[in-house]
C-alpha cells in the first residue's frame, strides 16, 4: 500500500469512515474504493484534477475521466504550428499516462448531469455514478453573436482555431495557400475570453511566417477591446520593430457578423474589413454540459465557484475548474491557471470525502509565455491568494510582473514549462 493511499485511508478512518463499511454505505459509490470521482473534460484543468486525486489518494478513490478527443492537444504553444516552426504532433500528448495511473479514461461525451441522483449520462448511453463531480468543460462559442457563422459551412471557411487540433492544422493550411500580398485578419472578442495574450501571440507567429515566406502580406488585428488586453508594451514593441510594416493593430472592433463567402468581417462602429484569411474568435461561455448541469450562474456565461474548493456556489458536489469559471479579479483564463484550479479542487474533493476541512489559505500562481518569434519569448506572471474578507482570490501585493524584453532564454524556459505542465497533468 502506498504511503499516500495509507494516509488518505487514515484520514477517512479519522472521519469515522472505514473502507470495510463502504460496501454497505449508499453514499459512497465506487465498489471497493473510498469514493468515486467523475471528471468531465481532459484539458489542463480536468486532466490535472484527475491525476492529483488518483495520486494524492494513492488510488483509494476511483477516478473516471470523460473526454471526447483521442489525445490532449495543447492550446499553449499551438500558435507555433500556425507560424510553421512546430507541427501539431509537437503539442499533442496521449492520455495513456493517466490510464497507467489507474484512471479510467473514457473516450465519450457527457450529455447530461443529474445532480440529485449524482449521475452522468454519456453519449454512448452509459451512465456513471459519482460521489463528487469535477467539470472542466472548457468553452463553447456564442455563434448567435455572429449569426452568419452559425452553420458548418461557414465555420469550415472562417476558422477560430481557439481549440487546438484540426482547426489549428486547417488554419495553417489556409495561411500556406494564401498568395503573397494577402491579408490575414484576426477578430478578438471582448474580454473575458480564453488566453488573453493568445491572439496577440498568434499575430506575431503569423507575421513571423509572412516575414520569411510572404513578405508583402499583412496581419490585421481587429480587437473587440479598447486596447491590447495583455503584455501591451511588449507586443506593441514587436509590431513596431520586429514586424514593422506587417502587423497593424486596430482597437474597438466589436464584431457583429461576417460574410463567409467573401471573408468579410462586420463591426459595431467600424467599416467592413475584407481579408484573404479571416480568423474569427467568437465570444464564448462555459461548455454546454455546465449549462445542462445548472452551474452557470454569472451573466448566463460562466460558473461561479467557492475559491477555497472550486465547488459550484449553486450545486453541491459539483466542482468547476478551468476556462469555464467566473474568474476572480486579475485572474486570466489560462491553461496554467486551470492546472492550479485542478489541484485546489483535487485537494478539496479529497478533504470533502474524508470529511475534513479544506485548506483555508490556497495559493495559485500563473505563468504565461508568449512567442514573439520562433524562439524569442516574453512572459507575464502573477500570484493569487485567498482574501478571507472579500471571499475571493486576489493578487498578492508586490508580486508578479513581465519580461523586460523578448529573449531566447525564456524561449527555452517556455518549452521546459510545456514539458513539465504536460507531464504534471497527463502522467
Amino acid at each position: 500500500m502506498s504511503m499516500q493511499r495509507r494516509e488518505f485511508l487514515k484520514a477517512l478512518g479519522a472521519a469515522g469512515i472505514t473502507t470495510s463499511a463502504l460496501g454497505g454505505c449508499a453514499a459512497m459509490r465506487g465498489a471497493g474504493h473510498a469514493g468515486q470521482v467523475v471528471v468531465i473534460g481532459g484539458g489542463y484543468g480536468g486532466a490535472t484534477a484527475a491525476k492529483y486525486i488518483a495520486m494524492w489518494s494513492g488510488g483509494a478513490v476511483a477516478v473516471t475521466l470523460v473526454e471526447p478527443n483521442a489525445a490532449f492537444v495543447s492550446c499553449p504553444m499551438s500558435n507555433l504550428v500556425l507560424g510553421g516552426s512546430k507541427q501539431i504532433a509537437d503539442v499533442t500528448v496521449s492520455y495513456d499516462g493517466l490510464t497507467k495511473r489507474g484512471i479510467k479514461v473514457l473516450r465519450d461525451t457527457a450529455t447530461a448531469v443529474d445532480a440529485d441522483k449524482r449521475t452522468v449520462r454519456l453519449a454512448s448511453g452509459q451512465t456513471l455514478s459519482y460521489d463528487r463531480l469535477i467539470l472542466s468543460p472548457g468553452i463553447d462559442f456564442l455563434y448567435n453573436q455572429v449569426p452568419a457563422l452559425n452553420n458548418d459551412g461557414a465555420q469550415a471557411r472562417v476558422l477560430h482555431a481557439w481549440k487546438a487540433g484540426p482547426q489549428t492544422v486547417a488554419l495553417r493550411q489556409q495561411l500556406e495557400a494564401m498568395h503573397d500580398g494577402g491579408v490575414y485578419a484576426i477578430s478578438i472578442p471582448r474580454a473575458p475570453y480564453r488566453c488573453p495574450p493568445g491572439p496577440y501571440e498568434r499575430a506575431c507567429q503569423v507575421a513571423w511566417y509572412f516575414k520569411r515566406a510572404k513578405p508583402k502580406s499583412k496581419v490585421l488585428i481587429l480587437d473587440g477591446n479598447e486596447d491590447v488586453t495583455s503584455k501591451k508594451g511588449l507586443f506593441t514593441k514587436a509590431w513596431n520593430e520586429e514586424y514593422k510594416g506587417i502587423v497593424e493593430y486596430r482597437p474597438n472592433h466589436v464584431l457583429t457578423d461576417v460574410d463567409a463567402p467573401t471573408l468579410t468581417a462586420k463591426f459595431e462602429t467600424a467599416g467592413d474589413v475584407k481579408a484573404d484569411v479571416l480568423n474569427v474568435i467568437p465570444p464564448h461561455r462555459a461548455g454546454a454540459i455546465a449549462a445542462q448541469a445548472g452551474v452557470i450562474t454569472a451573466n448566463n456565461r460562466w460558473c461561479e465557484v467557492d475559491f477555497l474548493s472550486f465547488e459550484s456556489i449553486k450545486v453541491k458536489n459539483i466542482y468547476v475548474v478551468g476556462d469555464s469559471i467566473q474568474i476572480a479579479p486579475a485572474m486570466p483564463k489560462s491553461g496554467h491557471m486551470a492546472n492550479q484550479h485542478g489541484k485546489v479542487a483535487a485537494a478539496a474533493v479529497l478533504a470533502s470525502l474524508a470529511e475534513q476541512p479544506v485548506n483555508p489559505t490556497p495559493i495559485l500562481n500563473n505563468t504565461c509565455y508568449s512567442f514573439i518569434t520562433d524562439r524569442d519569448v516574453v512572459h507575464v506572471a502573477s500570484v493569487h491568494h485567498y482574501d478571507r474578507d472579500k471571499k475571493t482570490l486576489v493578487t498578492v501585493a508586490g508580486s508578479g510582473g513581465l519580461s523586460p524584453a523578448m529573449n531566447p532564454l525564456e524561449g527555452e524556459y517556455a518549452w521546459a514549462w510545456a514539458r513539465n505542465i504536460w507531464a504534471d497533468a497527463l502522467t
Binding site: 479519522a14 472521519a15 469515522g16 492529483y52 495520486m55 494524492w56 496554467h336 492546472n339 492550479q340 489541484k343 485546489v344 485537494a347 478533504a351 470529511e355 475534513q356 476541512p357 479544506v358 485548506n359 483555508p360 489559505t361 490556497p362 495559493i363 495559485l364 500562481n365 505563468t367 512572459h379 506572471a381 502573477s382 500570484v383 493569487h384 491568494h385 493578487t395 498578492v396 508586490g398 508580486s399 508578479g400 510582473g401 519580461s403 532564454l409 525564456e410 527555452e412 524556459y413 518549452w415 521546459a416 514549462w417 514539458r419 513539465n420 505542465i421 507531464a423 504534471d424 502522467t427
Partner: protein, 102 residues
C-alpha cells in the same frame, strides 16, 4: 447508529483540534508544492531546463527563495513569483520538497 455518529463527531473534533494545533491543514506543504509543479515538475521532479526541487536541501531552497524575494538573486519569473509567498510558506514548501525523493 447514534453512538457511531457521536463517535464520528468526537473524532472530527479531535481531528479539527489537531489541525488547529498544527496551525494549518496538514497537507499544506503538499498543496503549496503543487503550485510549483507546473514548471518544476510533479513533486518537484523536473523534465527540462527548469531545476528539480525534489530532495534539495531545505536551507538552500529557503535561501534561494529569500534571495529571489529580496531582489538579490537575478532571474526571469522567480523574482516575481517569490514575492507572492510569505516567509512561512517558503519555509513550509522547502521542508516538503527536501523530504521528496530526488
Amino acid at each position: 447508529m447514534r453512538r457511531f455518529k457521536m463517535l464520528t463527531s468526537a473524532l472530527l473534533v479531535i481531528n479539527a483540534g489537531l489541525v488547529a494545533a498544527q496551525g494549518a491543514d496538514h497537507h499544506l506543504g503538499r498543496s503549496l508544492a503543487a503550485s510549483c509543479a507546473n514548471c518544476h515538475g510533479t513533486n518537484g521532479a523536473s523534465q527540462g531546463a527548469v531545476p528539480s526541487l525534489a530532495g534539495a536541501a531545505k536551507a538552500d531552497l529557503v535561501a534561494k527563495m529569500q534571495e529571489f524575494k529580496s531582489g538579490k538573486r537575478p532571474g526571469t519569473i522567480m523574482p516575481q513569483l517569490a514575492k507572492g509567498y510569505s516567509d512561512e510558506q517558503i519555509e513550509t514548501v522547502a521542508v516538503w520538497f527536501a523530504a521528496q525523493k530526488p
